[in-house]
């Protein structure tokens, strides 16, 4: 019997395996070697000073950066205080309860969207265009309604707001329509501070945040092996303020990482280990989620493929490494390189979601991405919710025991009988069999009578139905005004930085 994983089934879950334990260890110790012998470049003096005080060798100090080499004992020491479990709980409903609990540790699994795409597909015209505040709010409303979306990332940049302060507006748009945990992005430290202030207001105080934060921060070092000033400053701020950090590089095999997938994983782990060590030097117990988006460059188009089998495979392999390390993980699935919600989009999402589920990633993001992460699709979001649901049925496995083997039922019905009218069927069919309103299984004539609707049409209808459903506002007018004021104050502080041209919309 398996005793591994997953928050909705305790055992007997079907699993897959990419790496053996020996392979995981080989990658881990290789990453330690890279961190101590090749080192990483740090573009922040406070960052390299902190590493130096903690025992790192700092070499080749330039005006803007330094090479930091960390002996392996620093990683051992950091891992001793690195949390194995991190909770992010959403914002309160009208009754004051925070019901969406994301409890990240080795055997749990949560799905969520991706953030900050420049483009989105209009839900009605289905035309690709720049994303706006309203789009982010709409997509958050969809995520709030979809039962298999556990956390939210913006799925669009609010490009009808100022470029230097859009992050606050984007957060407000999300808070307007979802109470689920959010993985935010921040333009800079000031943007992060403002959003933390908004979260305190939304939760009703800093004490509530201390019980459990309602957001984590997406923070991305630049591959290969570079950590920008902005990224380091965000990491330090998060450590100081108990904000969970998603420290996630996006290496690209053959371009910003070795062409071999194992080499890429060594590099990605080195990048994350540096973040782990620095975070624990700043504040032992600092909450770090590692992982990322990993893929191999398409050598025809030079793009970053999100729907490739290598992406799914790397993501799965990396998940095994993080489970072995017992550090919460950020995985990738539900995304595609297709330019619209078509067969390719569904195929790629179905394969990478089921791979992520079978391996059992913790915080699986990028549901709803198409066009290599440059565009979000509300259709893809709705379809992926169904794919996740379908996959969860497979994960429930086939319990085999005296009851489920149903020998007594077989004996009662006997040769030549049927089971349709049996109590056993009546009592079990709903839990044994997966069903979805989106998947069509009608006979041809009935399908014809019901309008010959293909999957795209059914998804479109479901999406519009959710978008147009009446929903009580999640923010009271006074709360909305308080949050909005922080956005407006930020705009006022930054009004001189914008260009004269209307940048985006």
């Amino acid at each position: 019997m398996q005793v591994r994983k997953n928050n909705y089934t305790v055992n007997m879950t079907p699993t897959m395996q990419v790496l053996t334990e020996n392979q995981i260890e080989a990658i881990y110790y290789a990453a330690l070697a890279v961190l101590s012998e090749t080192g990483v470049r740090v573009y922040d003096k406070e960052g390299w000073d902190l590493a130096h005080q903690g025992g790192a060798v700092v070499e080749d100090v330039q005006a803007d950066s330094a090479l930091v080499k960390m002996p392996s004992w620093m990683v051992d020491k950091a891992r001793a205080t690195l949390p194995q479990r991190i909770r992010v709980i959403g914002t309160p409903d009208g009754d004051g309860k925070r019901k969406y609990n994301m409890d990240l540790y080795k055997n749990t699994m949560y799905f969520g969207t991706g953030s900050d795409t420049p483009f989105t597909i209009d839900p009605y015209t289905q035309v690709r265009r720049r994303a706006t505040y309203k789009d982010v709010r709409n997509l958050a409303k969809l995520a709030e309604a979809l039962p298999n979306v556990d956390f939210f990332m913006s799925l669009g940049i609010t490009q009808d707001t100022a470029v230097g302060t859009y992050d606050r507006w984007q957060y407000l748009a999300m808070l307007e329509a979802t109470n689920k945990p959010i993985n935010i992005t921040a333009v800079d430290i000031e943007g992060l501070k403002d959003q933390l202030e908004m979260a305190y207001i939304r939760l009703g105080g800093k004490e509530e945040w201390k019980k459990a934060p309602c957001f984590s921060l997406y923070n991305e070092p630049v591959s290969p092996l570079s950590h920008s000033e902005e990224v380091i400053q965000k990491l330090l701020f998060c450590a100081d303020n108990d904000i969970p950090i998603v420290y996630t590089p996006c290496p690209l095999a053959g371009a910003t990482a070795p062409a071999t997938l194992a080499g890429l994983m060594v590099q990605a782990l080195t990048e994350s280990l540096f973040g782990i060590v620095l975070s624990q030097l700043r504040k032992p117990g600092c909450q770090v989620i590692i992982g990322g988006l990993m893929s191999a460059m398409d050598m025809q188009t030079a793009v970053y493929p999100y729907g490739s089998p290598e992406m799914a495979l790397l993501s799965a392999g990396y998940t095994e490494i993080t489970k072995w390390m017992r550090v919460p993980e950020y995985e990738t699935a539900g995304c595609s390189d297709a330019k619209c919600f078509d067969e390719q989009a569904c195929m790629e999402a179905a394969i990478n979601i089921s791979t992520a589920a079978m391996i059992g990633g913790n915080m699986i993001h990028d549901i709803g991405y198409i066009e290599q992460g440059l565009c979000s699709s509300p259709h893809m979001l709705v379809a992926s919710d169904e794919i996740i649901s379908r996959t969860k049925r497979i994960l429930r496995g086939i319990p085999v025991n005296a009851d489920t083997q149903a020998l007594d039922v077989l004996d009662q019905v006997g040769p030549g009988g049927h089971f349709l009218g049996h109590d056993h069927t009546y009592n079990r069919f709903k839990t044994e069999n997966w069903r979805s309103a989106l998947t069509d299984r009608q006979v041809y004539a009935d399908w014809e009578t019901s309008g010959c609707k293909d999957y795209q049409q059914r998804v479109q209808e479901r999406m519009v139905e959710i978008l147009e459903a009446d929903a009580a506002p999640l923010l009271e007018p006074k709360m909305y005004q308080e949050l909005r004021r922080i956005c407006e104050l930020a705009d006022a502080r930054h009004k001189d930085e914008e260009l004269d041209v209307q940048m985006f919309v």
């Binding site: 053959g254 910003t256 460059m297 050598m299 025809q300 030079a302 260009l499 041209v501 940048m503 985006f504």
Partner: protein, 211 residues
């Protein structure tokens, strides 16, 4: 056409970095003018590479190997061409704008442009508008190419163009922009001369702008 020019052309197509220098020397020793070596040997090869890449028969690492072979040969030809007063394709100045450390796309543009015959000066990443301005004064490029991956840093492209205008340099260079979130529309808005969606077309665009 001379056999040696065909061999040069094939060496470019095969990305034969090892033999290209000897072949170039041999061609020059045979008395073939440098300009002819360039046009009928190297560029003939690169044109073939470009066409095969477009058709999906050659891939980025292969194209870059061809560009590398081209550069190795150009190192020999450049001084001779300069002495003869032959104008090179052009000078391209590249940089990822201030606040952005993402440079893989920009590097790719640089390698592709070298393959197209450009002399490329790459300023690197996190380049301020002022750094672009002084680099333009120093290197006198025909084209500058700016790159950004983030929507927050995209606007620095606009700031840089403004800085060029203020420094009175805008008319002296063509400006091209690129990066994942950048579009033609955005390039128009900030007053760039061109936008390319990928590295190969960026090199092509630069070539068009200087011809």
């Amino acid at each position: 056409m001379s056999e040696i020019l065909v061999q040069l052309s094939e060496a470019i197509i095969d990305g034969n970095v090892e033999d290209i220098v000897d072949l170039t020397e041999e061609a020059l020793d045979d008395g073939i003018p440098a300009q002819e070596v360039l046009n009928k040997g190297l560029m003939a090869g690169m044109d073939h590479v470009g066409a095969e890449f477009k058709a999906g028969n050659m891939f980025v690492p292969e194209v870059l190997r061809s560009a590398k072979a081209m550069q190795a040969s150009m190192d020999l030809l450049r001084p001779i061409l300069a002495e003869a007063g032959v104008k090179h394709t052009g000078k391209l100045l590249l940089g990822t704008v201030k606040g952005d450390l993402h440079d893989i796309g920009k590097n790719l543009v640089g390698m592709m442009a070298e393959g197209a015959g450009f002399e490329v000066k790459d300023l690197g990443k996190d380049i301020t508008p002022d750094q672009f301005v002084s680099a333009i004064k120093e290197y006198q490029p025909d084209v500058i190419g700016m790159s950004a991956l983030l929507t927050t840093t995209m606007r620095v492209m606009g700031h840089t163009i403004k800085a060029l205008e203020e420094a009175g340099l805008r008319d002296r260079v063509k400006v091209i922009v690129g990066g994942a979130p950048v579009t033609q529309e955005f390039a128009n808005q900030i007053g760039a001369d061109g936008y390319a969606p990928n590295a190969a077309s960026a090199a092509e665009l630069a070539r068009k702008l200087v011809s």
